[in-house]
Amino acid sequence: MINDSDMELVDLAIGGDERSFETLIEKHYLSVYQLSFKWCRVKEDAEEITQEVFIKLGRKLNTFNRKSSFRTWLYRIVINTAKDYTRKNSISRLYESVFAEEQSNEKNDDPPTDPIDAQQVYDAIDTLPDKQKAALMLVMTEGLNHKEAATILHCSETTVSWRIHQARKALKNIFNVWCDNGK
């Protein structure tokens, strides 16, 4: 995650060096996958999002303008891809219903058993608008500060703060318990 060597790899890759590009993928695969997983919480979907992220990376790498760090830039791709993916998926799920019996239960088996309801919190986050969800995830799970998140989400820092505030408010409504704990 050190940006210096990222930049070097990016430079080489833009110059056409496949190995550098591959190294770049290897290096970021896990973090991209993890963020994708947090977004959709289905292993296969996360893998697919991750794949799409890197395909996009291959396509767009030479448009990387170095204004931000590579990681920031990559995060933006992940968030956009994940958003697109879940949107598309919600459409394809219509088709799936036709073939419900074929579908079996692959989709819903996966969520791992989780002692203290992280799953529930994520489910709740899923109900938020994408923008809030993205801001919240970047800051809360990826540990970015508001400024970084703002760069990724193409908005101002105050907007990020506002979205997180909104998101938390919404979550509070869902989990009244927190209010008690928090205050």
Binding site: L12, A13, G15, G16, D17, E18, S20, F21, E22, I25, E26, Y29, Y33, F37, K38, R41, K43, E44, D45, A46, E47, E48, T50, Q51, E52, F54, I55, L57, G58, R59, L61, N62, D84, Y85, K88, N89, S92, Y95, E96, V98, F99, E102, E106, P112, T113, D114, P115, I116, A118, Q119, V121, Y122, M140, T141, G143, R168, L171, W178, N181, G182
Partner: protein, 788 residues
């Protein structure tokens, strides 16, 4: 507090490890895309990229460490490009073509640039010309004068023209100005410390009048602005000399490895009848790069074309060994009508590199072509074999035995009803132009050929499988077409699940008298669902028994799992085709739709028994993956390939006649049979071999047999006497062996293949044979570089 609490809870989420297969696929797809992008970029006007790279802050690699040289070279590039545009390029390319001797590697190299360049341009592929020699690349190739009508005189149009290598004749001075200004602008825009301006004196930029193209860098004025021509180490070439240069590029490069000579143009011009005077800078400053190696040269710091590292998967093929007739007189194999390998080879060659040896399956190369074998009269005997024996083009001591079969051609009216399910991979990796969009166009063409009562369904599979089109009558074309339009890439690859859905649809529409087939179109692996190749294979095989066959259409490269596709198709009684362009799609889906879809005989096996008193050794060329045991021939439970309507199958043996000095294996000293003359020959002693073909009619379970003897009556003494089909097949076989680096081919060269094939082309209405010639030429020029 609350934030921390929330963070803690969120981080408690258990994240399963990502799957290795998925990761591998992601990397492969990304790399494929990366490569495609690199290719596209290379296809764009090379000058920009070049300049860009040279003037960038950190010149990568050893050649251009010196900034001055870098700037100079950039100037040179511009000058040469300008020259290329001013002077009609035809002459250069013609001259260069005339020369192109293949005596040494260098000349072949320069010939490649010229020959292959034009071919490749057509396909919008990147010729494998390294940027170190734009003199050749940009003059001869980028500007064939005959390609475009008249581009409007806008900056964009001119740039675009250069981009695509289409430029009408000589551009005017304004055009030049625009181009050069654009380059200058580009550099300025980069905001680099140095700015350079390239100018052409507009009045002088006419053909036939003296033109001076100058390359300048910012220091002191020389002719136009306050900038001086970057000094000493430059070549000044006259036009004449440049022509010489393109001819003798090789020599020049060797002579002038790292230095640049300064040659004054005027003295030499005395003899030239052209009065143009150029100040040109040849870029032959670096030793000839061995393409493909460069990318590794500087510890992975590539600056030239990245080498194509094949991540496509092919099954290892071990070339058939020479067999001794006295030990193994019988050769048995299953027929194969696949053609995927040919398209794959074509794609590689069009991209300027040799295909992986294992991707070359000679039988598929042979069977790609439509031979003029005699047609059987009716369906009861679905095919008729022809045989020919003639001298081996690549070995004076052996002969070739050519076996050809053509399947009964169903007349369109009689075509059985088709119940087809297209299973289309729409995962994210299918997005690139040569995959899903190509497939959609192919399908649209195919829809046109459907009969009214055929039924079609489309299942798209990605993260999950979805039926995009329920079974629809062929009459309802609009509905089918709109379903095709809706296909778009995105999602993962639950191929296994897709296959189940597709088969269940096919079963629902099962027509016992018709053709029931699932057609799988994909770019590679299945990574979700049934991922185990064996399980998938078994599934397909089980379904085959229920009467539903599987065909596979492969798309794209970089991630293509040829081995799996072949296995699936073979087990599903289908065929696998690799589709690299719309023409191939037309060939497979439209022209050959009948043969791809309508099986006229199944489990077709060929057995050849050689006569030991005539033949001492034999070798089957190709069919390595299709060999059968001798006893399998009669065993009707052993699966073998199918022949579709109109399919032709070609097999070639190289045989060593008894007593020929071409024998590779010595006779046994203690061979008991040798002295006792105990070799019993049932047949005529003039017979080379006896051919048996065993097959089942589509609806039958027991086999029939066709036999014919191969005797001296089928022999041609000279190659030139042999039928054109035989000669062409021999050329294709030779080509395949050359590509595979086969040792049996002796000293035979690509040129010999060309000669052999050239003389045997007849009635090539679809242009497939002519295309073959082009491929041989491409292979010839790609081979000195040896990359795969």
């Amino acid at each position: 507090m609350e934030n921390e609490e929330l963070k803690k809870i969120l981080n408690r989420l258990q994240i399963p490890e990502p799957g290795d297969v998925a990761k591998d696929k992601a990397i492969k797809s990304a790399l494929a895309e990366f490569r495609l992008q690199a290719e596209k970029n290379k296809n764009r006007f090379k000058g920009f990229e070049w300049l860009d790279r040279l003037i960038s802050k950190k010149p990568k690699g050893g050649f251009f460490m010196n900034r001055t040289i870098a700037i100079t070279t950039a100037g040179i590039a511009v000058s040469v490009i300008a020259f290329a545009i001013v002077y009609s390029p035809i002459m250069v390319s013609q001259r260069a073509r005339k020369v192109a001797p293949d005596k040494n590697l260098e000349a072949a190299y320069s010939a490649k640039s010229v020959e292959s360049g034009t071919e490749i341009q057509k396909n919008q592929e990147q010729p494998r010309i390294t940027e170190k020699k734009p003199a050749v690349a940009n003059t001869g190739i980028d500007l064939p004068a005959d390609q475009i009508k008249s581009p409007a005189l806008t900056e964009e149009a001119v740039l675009k023209a250069i981009d695509t290598g289409k430029m009408e004749q000589t551009p005017s001075s304004e055009e030049l100005q625009v181009i050069l200004n654009e380059q200058a602008r580009l550099q300025l825009a980069k905001g680099k410390a140095y700015d350079s301006a390239k100018q052409v004196s507009p009045s002088s930029a006419k053909v036939g009048s003296p033109v001076t193209v100058q390359s300048e860098v910012p220091k002191k004025g020389m002719m136009t602005t306050e900038k001086v021509q970057e000094k000493p180490a430059l070549n000044e070439f006259t036009l004449k000399e440049l022509r010489d240069t393109s001819q003798n590029a090789a020599e020049n490069r060797q002579k002038v490895p790292m230095a640049m000579n300064n040659i004054s143009g005027k003295d030499i011009d005395a003899t030239g009848n052209n009065s143009e005077e150029f100040t040109l800078y040849e870029i032959a400053v670096t030793p000839v790069p061995k393409a493909g190696v460069i990318s590794r040269n500087e510890g992975g710091r590539a600056m030239i074309n990245p080498e194509y590292v094949g991540r496509d998967k092919f099954e290892d093929i071990k070339t058939n060994a020479v067999k001794l007739v006295s030990e193994e007189p019988v050769s048995t194999f299953s027929i194969d009508v696949d053609t995927a390998s040919y398209a794959f080879v074509r794609r590689a060659l069009n991209n300027g590199y040799l295909p992986q040896a294992d991707s070359v399956r000679i039988e598929e190369l042979l069977n790609y072509f439509d031979y003029d074998y005699p047609l059987p009269k009716d369906q009861s005997a679905p095919f008729k074999p022809i045989v020919a024996v003639f001298p081996t083009p690549w070995n004076p001591d052996t002969k070739l035995l050519h076996i050809g079969i053509k399947g009964y051609d169903i007349v369109p009216e009689k075509k059985p009803r088709a119940n087809l399910v297209f299973l289309v991979d729409v995962s994210g990796s299918m997005e690139s132009d040569d995959k899903l969009p190509l497939l959609k166009n192919s399908l649209r063409m195919f829809v046109d050929t459907l009969k009214a009562d055929d039924t079609v369904a489309i299942v798209a599979y990605s993260g999950s499988a979805a039926t995009v089109l329920e079974r629809t009558k062929g009459a309802d074309k609009a509905k089918i077409l709109s379903a095709i339009d809706q296909l778009h890439a995105g999602g993962s690859t639950a191929g296994g699940e897709g296959i189940r859905t597709a088969y269940s649809l096919a079963e629902a529409g099962m027509d016992t008298k018709g053709v029931n087939r699932v057609i799988l179109a994909t770019d590679g692996d299945f990574n979700v669902g049934i991922t185990d190749a064996e399980a998938l294979k078994d599934f397909v095989e089980r379904k085959r028994k229920s009467g539903i066959y599987l065909s596979v259409l492969g798309f794209g490269q970089g991630n293509y799992n040829d081995a799996l596709m072949q296995k699936l198709a073979q087990n599903g009684n289908g065929n696998a085709a690799y589709i690299d362009n719309l023409n191939e799609a037309r060939k497979v889906l439209v022209d050959e739709a009948a043969s791809t879809l309508f099986t006229i005989a199944k489990d077709v096996k060929i057995q050849v028994e050689f006569n030991p008193s005539m033949v001492s050794e034999y070798r089957l060329i190709g069919y390595e993956t299709r060999l059968l045991n001798r006893e399998d021939f009669k065993n009707d439970n052993v699966d073998a390939g199918d022949i579709g309507s109109g399919h032709s199958v070609t097999a070639i043996y190289e045989i060593t006649p008894k007593g020929s000095k071409g024998q590779l294996i010595d006779d046994l000293r203690y061979d008991s049979k040798k002295n006792s003359e105990s070799v019993k020959t049932k047949g005529d002693s003039s017979e080379y071999a006896f051919l048996k073909i065993r097959y089942k009619l589509p609806e039958e379970t027991s086999s029939r047999e066709i036999t014919t003897s191969i005797d001296r009556g089928t022999e041609y003494k000279k190659i030139s006497d042999a039928p054109a089909d035989s000669r062409f097949a021999a050329a294709v076989a030779a080509f395949g062996q050359l590509l595979r680096g086969d040792s049996h081919i002796n000293q035979f060269t690509y040129d010999d293949v060309l000669n052999l094939a050239h003389g045997s082309i007849k009635d090539d209405s679809f242009g497939y044979q002519t295309e073959f010639l082009n491929l041989v030429r491409l292979a010839k020029t790609a081979s000195p570089m040896g990359d795969r």
